[in-house]
């Protein structure tokens, strides 16, 4: 009834989470509110970004001169293993799960995740995982040092004979992280399938929800395979089996299949949500509907499918027969099609638009440029003849950092700035944000662009010393790396000071369309509680003047007055 819609009793203050005080302490407790868990994930992940970054700067410090003079080569092996593991499993996956937690329920109008306790348990496994992984620095023999791939036979040698060694802890830690990710994935997928607001059909979901769904499906299919392989590796390492030991009839290449069957799709687990973030932000800041929305949404699942069948492109030079290489080369190239659909949809949206260059949008545009570059080097690596030549060089390192940091990392920063006002209730400082962006863009380019040439000219990866002919490129790269370290200062400063003292954020500072922007900033514990809106039009109706939900004014009003 219309008369009851604006009942002042509805405008009651958000009720507090039962049993948890409404202050910073709840971020250090076992809290089941998805928004608290989301911030917990992101906070922890940013801390590990610093840890991983420090490890990287030690590596770049070592590589600033050709000989191995700063650290011992064996220590260097431990450094790159831990750097890769920390960045992937303690920064990227957790930070993206943080976004999933913040955005999935609020974007689909659900009060919370389908399984709030499971959700909190999945989060608290991350510190356990971190503890197990990092404690390996203090066991005899030091941390795992056979790379984040942990290929046998190197990884199953245990010269010390101790049961608890770095490699053992590494596998255990990865297994814990896998359990946590599976718990998360079950939760996200169930939530998306079962808890959408009335009226929100699949083709009314925001692209971020689509991409998160596709990515989490990949987790559910890929991670169990890795888990199977990891169990076998652990048994080989510690209990005398020979799954991957040629002496006992085992096959080391089998491990590579298990590993890449997960770890190739894993790159899409990370990049798909960032495609989602790009899609959201590009429409908001260019104020146009997303060009080809349905294709962008569906392309996520096409990428998921293709991502599952091309893992062998990481094994072109490990005895793969020629017919299989050719097949994989072709399917790898095919991924460029759905990915291209997305890129053209973004460019089509930006075309002729009046773009607002806020910090998040700068990160999106920077990330987009880098993604196009990294995608091209990816296609190059997908061709057998090129890969055979540069596969073990810095060209690969440059390729995947262009994607993993310069695209995914940029997307994550963009997302953090964009949704910061919504979930903290405070505005960030635009000036500091722009300094952060500038330092990051220059640092990242200096760091990884020159390494393409170092790789093409033959600088091998995974070694602590190199031929002096590559010295100049490495000096530039190291300067870039230190600049990225410096770039974290304005970022941290911005987050901490805006959260403490920033201007109070309005409900919808960017005038964006989406269910999350109909909530007050920060949203109350159960989001819409029982007043869940009915969705009546597609997302991204910028400039079309169509309301997103029934009784839109009611929700707008309530979010402003809360």
């Amino acid at each position: 009834m219309t008369t009851t819609k604006y009942d002042p009793r509805v405008l009651k203050a958000p009720h507090p989470v039962p049993g948890a005080p409404d202050n910073w302490k709840r971020f250090f407790s076992f809290n089941t509110d998805a928004k608290v868990i989301g911030i917990q994930y992101i906070g922890l992940a940013l801390f590990f970004l610093l840890v991983g970054g420090l490890l990287a700067m030690v590596m770049r410090g070592e590589l600033i001169t050709p000989p191995a003079d700063l650290v011992d080569p064996s220590v260097y092996n431990g450094l790159y293993t831990m750097h890769g593991t920390v960045m992937l499993f303690l920064f990227l996956f957790p930070v993206l799960n943080g976004f999933n937690n913040l955005l999935i329920p609020t974007m689909i109008g659900a009060p919370d995740m389908a399984f709030p306790k499971l959700n909190a348990a999945a989060f608290w496994l991350v510190p356990v995982f971190a503890f197990v992984l990092l404690s390996s620095f203090f066991v005899p023999g030091g941390p795992a040092s056979s790379g984040w791939w942990s290929y046998p036979p190197v990884s199953i040698q245990n010269p010390l004979g101790h049961l608890i060694n770095g490699e053992f802890l590494w596998i255990l830690a990865v297994a814990i992280s896998g359990v946590s990710s599976i718990m998360g994935a079950i939760n996200f997928v169930t939530t998306i399938i079962r808890m959408r607001a009335p009226g929100m059909g699949f083709f009314k979901m925001p692209v971020f929800v689509w991409t998160a769904w596709a990515a989490q499906t990949l987790q559910l299919i890929g991670l169990p395979a890795l888990t199977g392989g990891a169990i076998m590796l652990l048994f080989d390492l510690s209990f005398g089996t020979s799954f991957f030991r040629p002496e006992g009839g085992g096959d080391p290449v089998l491990y590579q299949h298990f590993f890449w069957f997960y770890s190739h799709p894993a790159v899409y687990v990370m990049v798909l949500p960032v495609f989602g973030i790009f899609s959201e932000l590009i429409t908001v800041y260019s104020r146009k509907p997303l060009f080809g929305y349905k294709f962008v949404a569906l392309a996520s699942f096409i990428i998921t499918f293709l991502g599952l069948i091309v893992w062998v492109h990481h094994m072109f030079y490990t005895g793969t027969p020629q017919w299989m290489r050719n097949l994989v080369m072709i399917t790898t190239m095919l991924i460029a099609v759905p990915t291209g659909v997305k890129v053209f949809a973004w460019l089509g949206t930006l075309w002729g638009a009046k773009i607002r260059l806020t910090t998040p949008m700068l990160f999106v545009l920077g990330g987009l440029v880098n993604f196009i570059f990294g995608g091209i080097t990816g296609v190059m690596l997908g061709t057998v003849p090129i890969d055979i030549h540069v596969g073990n060089t810095y060209f690969v390192v440059a390729h995947f950092h262009y994607i993993i940091f310069n695209t995914i990392g940029f997307g994550i920063f963009a997302g953090i700035y964009h949704w910061f006002p919504k979930f903290t209730g405070r505005m960030y400082y635009e000036g500091l944000g722009k300094i952060h962006f500038t330092l990051t863009f220059i640092g990242a380019t200096l760091n990884w662009l020159p390494l393409h040439w170092a790789g093409l000219y033959g600088m091998p990866r995974r070694v602590a010393s190199y031929d002096p002919e590559f010295a100049l490129w490495n000096v530039i790269a190291s300067i870039g790396a230190f600049m990225l370290g410096v770039a974290s200062i304005p970022f941290i400063l911005n987050i901490v000071s805006s959260w403490a003292r920033g201007a109070k954020a309005p409900a919808n500072p960017w005038r964006a369309i989406g269910l999350e922007w109909l909530l007050p900033s920060p949203p109350p514990a159960e989001n819409f509680e029982d007043d869940i809106p009915t969705v009546i039009s597609e997302p991204y109706g910028y400039g079309l003047g169509k309301p997103l939900v029934e009784d839109e004014e009611f929700y707008v009003r309530r979010s402003m007055e809360a």
Partner: protein, 201 residues
């Protein structure tokens, strides 16, 4: 009635989101991803078997198949018993449910016992080459699931004695019997792979 409705601020009545369905959806997704771990093991087993130069360890002729066959029959029939238990529960015949459920648990326990006997009589160990490793890994990982299933059934049985938890228990019973059918199907594949497909080329 109209007056109470007018008290409600919005058209959406509290509790319009049904929470019960989630659990089953989540559980089915969980089972799907679990079956991929088994799939990984099956693929690994088959590939290793086809490619490894020597499969059976020295002095081992092959696996005895009679005991495992009896075990298979018992486990597969227990799946039907579990199905009948569920039927009784739907008809609100609690005692019928409990009896059938207990029988399922007994059959499952016999299976575990049978596997224990088989393991203790084998002439090879975990570290006897690829064969030993894969054999114990596959049967052991499956056995762990059987034990988990029995424990979960015990939990559901205990719950059925708290009648006001009936609805909650029913949900759990559906999930646990799904799990049990799953463990069963996995065993059939495992039996075919390990015991039936014994001859190497």
């Amino acid at each position: 009635m109209t007056s109470t409705n007018a008290d409600l601020p919005l058209k959406h009545v509290p509790g319009h989101i049904k929470h019960d369905g989630h659990n089953l959806t989540g559980f089915i997704i969980f089972l799907c991803s679990e079956s991929i771990i088994f799939l990984a093991f099956f693929v690994g087993y088959s590939l290793l078997k086809i490619t490894s130069p020597e499969w059976l360890p020295e002095g081992v002729e092959g696996l005895e198949t009679r005991m495992p066959l009896i075990n298979t029959v018992i486990l597969v029939s227990s799946s039907f018993v579990a199905y009948f238990a569920e039927r009784y529960l739907h008809k609100e015949n609690l005692w019928g449910f409990r009896a059938m459920w207990l029988l399922t648990m007994a059959m499952g326990s016999y299976f575990v016992y049978g596997q224990y006997v088989e393991w203790s009589e084998l002439a090879f160990s975990l570290s006897s080459g690829v064969f030993g490793g894969t054999f114990y890994l596959l049967t052991g990982f499956h056995g762990l699931h059987v034990i988990t299933g029995i424990l979960l059934m015990g939990l559901m049985l205990a719950r059925s004695f708290r009648p006001n938890n009936y609805a909650k228990g029913e949900m759990g019973v559906t999930a646990v019997s799904l799990f049990w059918h799953f463990v069963d199907v996995i065993w059939i594949i495992l039996y075919l792979l390990i015991y039936v497909w014994q001859r190497t080329s």
